[in-house]
Symmetry: C3
Subunit: 256 residues, 3 copies
């Protein structure tokens, strides 16, 4: 199986799909092609969120603001999964999540490629053919590909750690989803036993889900990724809280 993810919108993903269908017999499954555009960190977050749900696969993942520069192409192995994409950090957080779930290690390989036809569409000309080759060879044998060598170095990316203290936590907004839900880097357990939490000083109910509050009301929940989310029931949390990716936020237990 090969999964496809990108920030390409339409119609460019079809060119990658065509290349894969022409060059190998893998079953294909789209992840999404609506990743936030050229946002490497958001790509890393969302890929880390969804790829662990999949059975063993080659994951073609192309969010590539550096296309046309001399940045490398990577193949990253995490147990029986492999990720193929640009060397910009986007593959490492999902690879670590895949590896952790399998008690496997993350192995990073450089994939050597000739200068392709186009300097602007490596998804079609470099990464899709690489994913097809990795699939044909098999993830377990990826180092046998002549284009593949252990990476002497590579771009890594980690999400910022929140600062948890006795009163609460100082964290950061990682992404905002399509519903406007504000996903932070603060682990959900800071909300344990709280019925209300102060978000940047304002009291907001804590709920198991959006439905804990009336439509249009703000609520702080633990999202499906395990982190604190700032949401609005049937509305947009980003607008109601005035929060965007990269913003800092402070969560405090109310004073007794």
């Amino acid at each position: 199986m090969i999964t496809l993810a990108s920030d390409f919108g339409s119609p460019y993903p079809a060119a990658m799909r065509g290349v894969l269908l022409r060059q190998c017999d893998a079953r294909l499954a789209d992840v999404t092609h609506e990743l936030p555009r050229q946002d490497v960190r958001a790509a890393a977050f969302w890929l880390g969120f969804v790829l662990p749900e999949f059975p063993p696969a080659v994951h073609l993942a192309v969010v590539d603001p550096g296309v046309g520069t001399d940045r490398d192409a990577l193949v990253v192995r995490a147990g029986d999964h492999a990720l193929v994409g640009p060397d910009n950090g986007s593959l490492l957080p999902p690879a670590r999540r895949l590896a952790d779930a399998r008690s496997a290690s993350v192995e990073v390989f450089t994939y050597a490629y000739d200068d392709p036809d186009s300097a602007t569409f490596h998804g079609r000309d470099v990464f899709a053919p690489a994913a097809a080759r990795v699939h044909r060879t098999g993830v377990a044998d990826v180092e046998n590909l002549d284009a593949v060598t252990p990476a002497p170095s590579f771009v890594d990316l980690s999400f910022p750690d929140p600062a948890v203290d006795d009163d609460g936590a100082t964290g950061e907004v990682l992404v905002v989803d399509d519903f406007g839900n504000v996903v932070t880097n603060v682990p959900g357990d800071v909300l344990d036993d709280l019925e209300t939490v102060l978000v940047d000083g304002e009291a907001v109910p804590v709920g198991r889900s959006f439905a804990a509050v009336d439509p249009g009301e703000r609520v702080v929940t633990v999202g499906s990724h395990g982190n604190v989310e700032c949401d609005v029931n049937r509305g947009r949390g980003d607008e109601a809280f005035g929060l965007a990716p990269g913003d800092e936020l402070r969560l405090d237990a109310p004073r007794g």
Copy 2:
């Protein structure tokens, strides 16, 4: 085969896709993940429109504004099709359409589930695993699943009936599609033999299709669902008619 429908946009549908691919060997076919957000009635309409085109399948259909409440999960059988999703009425109209086409009855089952990891993503944690189980067991044997029992009660949903009289009909806008076409609940035959129809008192040409009028002009047609539509050729009917879902509208034959 399992079909997938939701209002999740991107990237959440990928998590359901991954779960299905991991938990069963069904062929997957996306219906859409752009159903109008948290709009149970629109979901029921569109699912009723498209699901009857499919061969026998398990239809995973998640538009779920009540996620995280104690609303039930349902498996609804309609002949050789089954629908899996939340108990909010969205599954019943499509189930009736599927059953009618097969002279089958609609059977509604409750699907018991343990409290999942996340209170906000039952699509991934409850409904996708349920659909995979129904697929593995087979639609014909769904009552043999230990989680499945005949539903003592469930939320139903019907579309409002139009009031048809000698002069025309009083109806309601059910949905507006991506093109801006205004779909009503009025059966197409009220337009029989009419060249013009009064929409809320204003005369509009009746056409077999958009192309019956010049680009930018309003036209009333019978849509592909069999109901009256208010459209604009190469434009948006919702804007030109000032109509939105839930609005009442009056159709009259012009006075002779």
Copy 3:
């Protein structure tokens, strides 16, 4: 294999998918359903861009502003590929690209159809069933279908030729992609050996890719289709250059 392309957005493509799955056993691959709405020329461009990447297939391609008129349905064969869709020119440019890559000729057939249930959804009622039949029969035997006859005439479409002269070229904007990149009809080789080009008199750097300039800066590149593109690194070229599909533009080498 059957590929699907349209300008239908959501949820109408699902009805075509259902019909195909019900009527044949082809593997399905979506191209896109976000082609620019009712824009025959853009459809022709993008289909010509992506379809040659696919292995032999039946390509169902429905951008059909004339639905409900008496325009014909076509089956166009290009070697081991076939295209099925409306007779409005959209199929011919991609067919020529598919044929050229295979040293094959383009053969145009009319596909006769009965008046369908709906005058507004021929994608479901005419073209998807036609694609399923072509797939079942096989592209090589398409003329054996009783509905298929050599087309006595058909609508063709060609992209305008640029006027290349000693100083540069006068061209036209063909399409703007989702990223805002402005794709012209000017062949990339007019940029050979240039470090700067005058776009409508203003000097803009020529780069191998977006990344040749700083974020937010304008750059002229050769796109993945081989034509000149007017782009902005991590921004929208259409806004920065003030160019839209159909606009003329002049490219000149700077005076020595």
